[in-house]
């Protein structure tokens, strides 16, 4: 299995690669967590 292009989503981590560095966040997970808890 191979994926073409830069890493952007891995094990729930969102990875954003930029010229100045790399940004790792779990924004989607956070949003889903907030949606899931009532």
């Amino acid at each position: 299995m191979s994926m073409i292009g830069e890493l952007s989503f891995f094990l729930g981590f969102q990875v954003k690669q930029m010229k100045e560095g790399v940004f790792i966040s779990k924004e989607k997970y956070t949003q889903d967590l907030l949606k899931g808890s009532t």
Binding site: G12, F13, Q14, K16, M18, K19, E20, G21, V22, F23, I24, S25, K26, E27, Y29, T30, Q31, L33, L34, K35, G36, S37, T38
Partner: protein, 254 residues
Amino acid sequence: MMDCKPIKTPMASNGHLDFDEGGNPVDKTLYRSMIGSLLYLTASRPDIMFSVCMCARYQAMTMESHLIAVKRILWYLKYTPYLGLWYPKGARFQLVGYSDSDYAGCRIDRKSTSRGCHFLGRSLVSWMSKKQNSVALSTAEVEYIVDGACCAQILDKKQTLLDYEVVLDKVPLLCDNESAIKLANNLVQHTRTKHIDICHHFLRDHVAKGDISLENVGTENQLTDIFTKPLDEARFCMLRNELNVLDLSNFTRK
């Protein structure tokens, strides 16, 4: 939770929890599942590490006040959903450790909380916040135990870096307690420290070998406060930025 009010810190600055024996019991399963989801999030959010760990201690006897504390963390997440770790390019490649502790921070058993974080250049690579296993008699003793734990972490990182042929010597470990530094550098047995278990003295051994070097850092530059204390908003945001936990929208706007 989508329409809750956003809040700027995950914990009130006087937010220490206790057993709250007279409180209303709440559903433990719900509480545990909330803690579980939040613990997973701490892998990319060191800013909520302390508050989540504090709430996680009360999973056996859950009261309403504990649930309210967890909800406050969710409110905070609502305010800051875009935060993540920023790893800048081109910083100096140097391993630095920070260690500190909160003496007798736990209201119930008076045990202290250790905290530490490690940077590689400007990038945060590991962090911890842990209640110590035994009650300590002095701040120096607490710090000494924390420094030992951080020393073990640093040795682990050094070993990993060695595989990439990066050899580091005298890795600085910054702590703000002078007595702990003196204790680690000087092999004199002193009445106040005789009882410290031998396993903690391995710090001293590694300082003597030159694997790490303990250095003093002022309280205001101590980045690990965020892992053991509830803080006010200004200091909390300052430390969060120092740890390179930033908002993605700041970058995309540039």
